[in-house]
């Protein structure tokens, strides 16, 4: 798994390429936590290059979303979901819990 972060004026974009499973999801959690530790709670997660997500990865998303939304200070939004990943989010009932955008531009433009 590789993680990149891009900082913009009103939000940060996190992009992962590869698998998000029990082996790699702690690294993703650390990334989200380090952004929040900097006082930034508007995060976009670009999933275009995520090849696989297990329930361990889904847990990271839900706990990050709760953390971001606390005190109305922000939000974790998702973008560029591959079909398989979207099906996993759907099965887990996650679709109503996140704003989901087709492109990074739409996601950034929404903050």
């Amino acid at each position: 798994m590789e993680i990149s972060i891009n900082n913009y004026k009103r939000c940060d974009i996190v992009k992962v390429s590869g698998r998000i499973d029990s082996s790699t999801s702690p690294q993703l959690l650390t990334t989200f936590n380090s952004i929040m530790d900097d006082g930034k709670y508007k995060i976009i997660f670009n999933m275009s290059d995520v090849s696989f997500i297990s329930s361990a990865g889904l847990r990271v998303l839900i706990s990050t979303q709760k953390n971001c939304k606390r005190y109305n200070r922000g939000e974790l939004a998702l973008c560029n979901l591959p079909e398989n990943i979207k099906a996993a989010l759907d099965l887990a009932g996650f679709i109503p819990l996140f704003r989901i955008f087709d492109t990074e531009v739409e996601a950034v433009g929404s903050f």
Binding site: R19, D21, S22, S23, F52, S54, S55, A56, L58, R59, V60, L61, I62, S63, Q65, K66, K69, E83, N84, A87, A88, L91, A92, G93, P96, L97
Partner: protein, 137 residues
Amino acid sequence: MTKTQIFPGRYDSLEKISEFIQENTKNAGFDGFTSYTIETAVDEACSNIIEHAYGQENIGDIEISVSINPSNLTIYIKDNGKPFNPKSIPKPNLSSNLYERKGDGLGLYMMRQWMDEVQFEFVDNKNVLKMVKNKGQ
């Protein structure tokens, strides 16, 4: 035709396990999405073995056998960890209210939703998980 492979009970085995499963689902003729659902079920099963049956990494192995049959793909996953009785496990909370919503308990649910048969047994001092995905649906 049955293929068997043994993997060390560590999280970094999960990627190799996925590759092994993908090879077999491909040979069995499943489409990309169906392969993905099977890959997910196996990943969840193996993660649970490491986390719950063995309790941590590097305690024991995971043995996976895959049979491509005319009407289905059948997978057996065996471990030497503590016996597991899935009957006692409640269904996960899938609430769409973020604050009531929990992130855990999804693994078994995803396995059961995405496979046609999921069955746990304890045989010869081993946990044996049988999962079946039917062809041509």
